[in-house]
């Protein structure tokens, strides 16, 4: 079975694609068939991924490559390929598992939507593209899937296109990521120009293998930075992060699947995949490109965590938290901890999907309200949502020992602390841990504790189909930590290709206490700051944030996302607007006149030829026509309209022919 799947790897993305096409062709009312088809497609993908995952367990450092020729131009063949290695295999498992949970959740969440069928078609389409992305063995194929994923994201953010804000958010996401993708594409072309191949692994000739890398030389830094541009766009890193919070306009399952667990992680995955290019020529594990990665990650992580403190929309807080965590992963990759970064990516996939789905469940229960200041007291009304959400929150905050997030964060801290270039990132990350605990505490106090406010008056627990995925994901988030502990760093070894060993002593590390203290500090700070936030007037939203009372300037600054959108509007967008106006003016007043002048010459020529036509040619043609018509009248007299006459004439003709031949013989 595994062998068969490896030989037919294309089936893994193809099945969701096919399902998506089938669903698209369904009539609009077929909710049940659409849901069943989509979930079945996802289950099929999960099963196939599992069988592709199995062989990677057996041999450490397993790598299966299958290349094929896409087309040939001249004597040069453009080749694409599929690839399964531990990196791709764990991504496959994570995407299909989380995806399945989210598909099931969506059948409940979207139940009342009239575009239900279209939603599942898009979702399946996304799933196919994402699966294709992780198993492609060619930067070009990866890029194709990358763009398809972007398209799916665009379609799904703008799913409720009736809302102007959703349409605007979709456009913003598309354009912003496109800026990054432009860089990515340039890097891809440059890489192709230098190494002559886009295959990652090709029996020693791939661009990530020795032969290919030596051809890159000094340009590796620039290629790596250009590729990182794409990763920045997709993963919402600092200058290009502005689209991700707005992307929360899409349905909540979409936010969970695409804008938290899978697609945004594609940037991190890309960096991990192309890591040999980033680390080419490293001195002591540091290269200029990796340096950029680290600092961008640090800035993003800190900035997003700060902004998250001052947001009121439940999904926006989670969005900024996602950005912050992605920054964390980038830091980890940059300082050399590829395995640590990927581990955090996987853990993050589970718990962030859990948090988003929990948020979805809350929103569902509160009849579409997203403002946390209008909620409150949901603890007893939605017990399952509350408990799973709490697990998610503690995992995200990095509570040690029992939660997967804690272990991965510790791993990242560990590698960051040993970065030879600077200690600053390490300290900033520690601040980030406190901030994370703080904003999550704030959110959970607002939503689940205190008294019921406007939106939570008639809240109710969500149906089974929505709570079951929550429970499943919560269990995953906890159980996942088994393979992450330093005592048995199975996943770490699996990713790096070394053999695992169990040593209980390693379980207790100094950093463990440090993070315990930091997280505890964050929680304590949060509880202290927001202790009164829950007890307020029942009918009014909690409009004044404690932080706002204390530091209103700072809160304003953070609430408005550090004015970055406004900055872009004043600079980049204003510039584009000006240049567009200029081109418009040029077109109207300069080029238009030029074209009109040429038109005038043509007109003159036309008048001239018309004269010739009228005088000379027409007269001759008229004469011919009159003659032909006379001849036609003459011949038409022979047509009697009686078919039997015609038949007789034919018979006479045949007879004559017969006699003629007889006479000849």
């Amino acid at each position: 079975m595994s062998r068969w799947i490896l030989d037919h790897l294309w089936l893994i993305p193809a099945v969701p694609f096919a399902v998506s096409l089938v669903i698209l062709s369904l009539p609009n009312g077929r909710h049940k068939s659409a849901a069943v088809l989509a979930v079945a497609g996802q289950i099929a993908a999960l099963v196939m991924s599992f069988f592709a995952f199995l062989p990677t367990l057996e041999t450490p450092g397993f790598r299966f490559v299958q290349n094929f020729t896409w087309f040939t131009f001249g004597d040069h063949a453009l080749r694409l390929g599929w690839l399964v290695d531990p990196l791709a295999a764990v991504m496959l498992m994570m995407i299909t598992l989380v995806g399945l949970c989210i598909f099931v959740f969506s059948t409940g969440y979207m139940a009342g939507d009239k575009n239900f069928v279209r939603f599942f078609a898009y979702l399946s389409f996304f799933s196919g593209a994402m699966l294709g992305l992780v198993i492609s063995n060619s930067l070009l194929l990866l890029f194709i899937c990358w763009e398809l994923v972007g398209l799916a994201s665009y379609l799904l953010i703008g799913f409720w296109m009736g809302r102007p804000s959703a349409a605007a958010a979709a456009k913003k996401a598309f354009v912003t990521t496109r800026i990054g993708d432009l860089g990515f594409f340039l890097g891809l072309l440059w890489l192709y120009g230098r190494s002559g191949t886009l295959l990652f692994y090709d029996g020693g000739d791939g661009c990530l293998e020795k032969a290919g890398l030596t051809m890159l030389g000094a340009s590796a830094t620039f290629i790596a930075l250009l590729i990182f541009c794409g990763a920045m766009g997709k993963s919402g890193q600092f200058p290009l992060h502005v689209w991700l919070p707005d992307a929360m306009e899409g349905p909540t399952p979409v936010s969970a699947l695409i804008h938290a667990a899978t697609m945004v992680a594609a940037g991190v995955f890309l960096v991990a995949r192309a890591y040999p290019i980033f680390s080419l020529g490293a001195i002591n594990g540091v290269t200029p490109s990796l340096m950029v990665v680290v600092w961008i990650g640090v800035i993003t992580a800190l900035m997003a965590a700060l902004i998250a403190i001052a947001q009121a929309d439940i999904k926006r807080i989670l969005a900024y938290s996602t950005i912050s965590q992605l920054g964390l992963m980038m830091v980890s990759l940059g300082v050399g901890g590829v395995a640590a970064g990927m581990m955090h990516l996987l853990a993050h996939g589970f718990f962030k999907a859990l948090l988003f789905l929990g948020a979805g469940s809350v929103i569902h229960g509160c009849h579409g309200e997203q403002d946390i200041r209008k909620m409150g007291g949901l603890r007893w009304l939605m017990p399952i949502t509350f408990s799973t959400y709490a697990i998610g929150m503690m995992t995200l905050s990095g509570v040690p020992l029992f939660f997967s997030g804690g272990w991965t964060k510790e791993e990242i801290q560990h590698v960051t602390a040993h970065w030879p270039a600077s200690r600053l990132p390490y300290y900033i990350l520690l601040i980030g841990v406190v901030l994370t605990a703080l904003y999550m505490t704030r959110q959970i106090i607002y939503v689940f504790f205190g008294d019921r406010r406007v939106a939570s008056q008639h809240a109710h627990e969500s149906p089974r189909v929505m709570t079951m995925p929550l429970i499943a994901l919560a269990i995953c988030a906890i159980l996942f930590s088994i393979v992450l502990t330093p005592a048995w760093p199975w996943l770490h070894d699996y990713l790096t290709g070394t053999a695992a060993g169990v040593e209980l002593v390693r379980l207790i590390q100094p950093t463990l206490f440090l993070s315990l203290v930091l997280v505890g500090a964050g929680f304590a700070l949060g509880i202290w700051m927001y202790r009164k936030a829950g007890v307020q007037d029942r009918q009014r939203p909690a409009d004044t944030d404690p932080l706002e009372l204390a530091q209103s300037q700072l809160f304003r600054f953070l609430e408005n996302k550090m004015w970055i959108d406004e900055l872009y509007a004043r600079t980049i967008i204003a510039f584009s607007w000006m240049s567009a106006r200029l081109s418009d003016w040029m077109d109207r007043h300069f080029w238009d006149r030029l074209v009109r002048g040429f038109g005038g010459i043509g007109q003159l020529l036309g008048i001239f030829t018309a004269g010739i036509d009228e005088r000379g040619i027409n007269a001759g043609v008229d004469e011919t026509t009159v003659g032909t018509r006379g001849l036609g009248r003459l011949i038409s007299a022979a047509h009697s309209g009686q078919i039997q006459t015609y038949l007789s004439v034919i018979a006479i003709g045949a007879l004559a022919l017969l006699l003629f031949y007889a006479w000849l013989a």
């Binding site: 011949i635 078919i643 039997q644």
Partner: protein, 104 residues
């Protein structure tokens, strides 16, 4: 006594002429169609007879042509009869003497 090719050719000529007779002398469109079908059958008879008496070939060309010609004749009959019905609906007659709209 075994028959010669001539016998079959004469039979087919007779069948052809009878078909021609039906096609030429009757005024009803369906008779004309029947006549044409008989002429086609006569032609098929010729093909098969020539194949039977001629040198042996692989594939049997005469037989193949007869099969195809039967298939085509079936198509012709279907369309022809559909035409007859369509004409009848329009003109309320199938007498070909009255159908002379194409008179020049």
């Amino acid at each position: 006594m075994t028959p010669t090719l001539q016998l079959f050719l004469v039979i087919s000529a007779a069948l052809f002429s009878i078909g021609l007779l039906a096609a030429l002398s009757r005024r009803h469109a369906i008779f004309i169609l029947i006549g044409i079908e008989m002429m086609l059958a006569a032609a098929n008879l010729n093909f098969v007879a020539f194949w039977r008496f001629g040198p042996q070939t692989q594939p049997p060309i005469g037989v193949m042509i007869a099969i195809f010609s039967i298939a085509i004749a079936a198509a012709e009959a279907a369309v022809g009869l559909a035409l007859v019905i369509a004409v009848y609906r329009h003109y309320r007659t199938t007498n070909v003497d009255h159908l002379n709209q194409l008179k020049g």
